[in-house]
Amino acid sequence: MLTNMYYYVKSLQYPINIRNRNPKLAKVIISQYGGPDGELAASLRYLSQRFGMPDKKSKAILNDIGTEELAHLEMVGTLVHQLTDGASPEEMEAAGLAPYYTDHGWGVYPQAAAGFPFNAVTLAVKGDPIADLTEDLAAEQKARATYEKLIDLCKDDRDVVDVLKYLREREVVHFQRFGEALNGVQEKLYQRNLYLTGGNNNNCGCNN
């Protein structure tokens, strides 16, 4: 039994073996690594928001979805790596990756498709359960929409599309779970006739 969290499991959440190198696809897919609706933003958003949640279900779902997003971050990084691995500097340049190659070589750097680096502004941690869970519902839809755009752009590579479809599907499941968590929070607040604001997380001993 492992006693310290987190620990690494030496397998992906879903297998990835991209047969054809294609830096052009990596150039757009990298947005889901470090872009505004990407997996790095998602994981850090949920794992940071969890500290401000008021009830058992919302704490658990943010913790567990945030953790799954870390596995997705690894998957997107794997896609970028396998699509660029072994590419010559000329191939990188032909794919429009000359600036990227200059700064990051064959490393995987968290940036958006348009080239700007990861920005923590996208985390959106308000410390208000209603605002944060509503933000998360939108975040899952934006990630789903991004994966659909990527599927359009990558449609000629079955290996890539297979992985993107898997990741898209997870966004749909997460949206569902966040909706249930939000309902739970709203129900609890209604029962107690309380208005939910950011400062209501004091321990009152009720264990809710």
Partner: protein, 114 residues
């Protein structure tokens, strides 16, 4: 059915090959046995099911049917992961061995890895 290599009577632990002659002896009887890739993919499937059920149970903690499924998959996952690690090396750093095999298997992001 006995393993073609070592003649033991155990069966493939992944339960995908219940009628195949494989005991986990890692011999050359791969034709009818669970390969490393198949075995790891089975573990990944179980991990996926466990994780997805966990998310569901976070918001439906009283669903007894889901709890039963979670137990069933977790039990299989523990059993199969232990078996896999004995044959093919560690999946987590707490796997005990006389040699440090953690660095030998390819990493999951590498092309051709599982």
């Amino acid at each position: 059915m006995a393993c073609r290599n070592c003649k033991n009577n155990n069966q493939c632990p992944c339960q995908n090959h219940e009628n195949d002659s494989y005991c986990g002896c890692n011999g050359n009887n791969a034709q009818n046995s669970c390969t490393q890739r198949e075995m790891l993919h089975k573990i990944m499937s179980l991990n996926f099911a466990i994780n997805d059920l966990a998310l569901y149970l976070d918001t439906h903690p009283d669903d007894q049917n889901a709890i039963r499924m979670h137990c069933e998959y977790s039990e299989k996952q523990i059993e199969l992961t232990a078996e896999y690690q004995k044959l093919y090396g560690p999946l987590t750093i707490n796997f005990m061995s006389d040699t440090w095999d953690w660095i030998d298997q390819p990493w999951p992001w590498e092309r051709g890895a599982y």
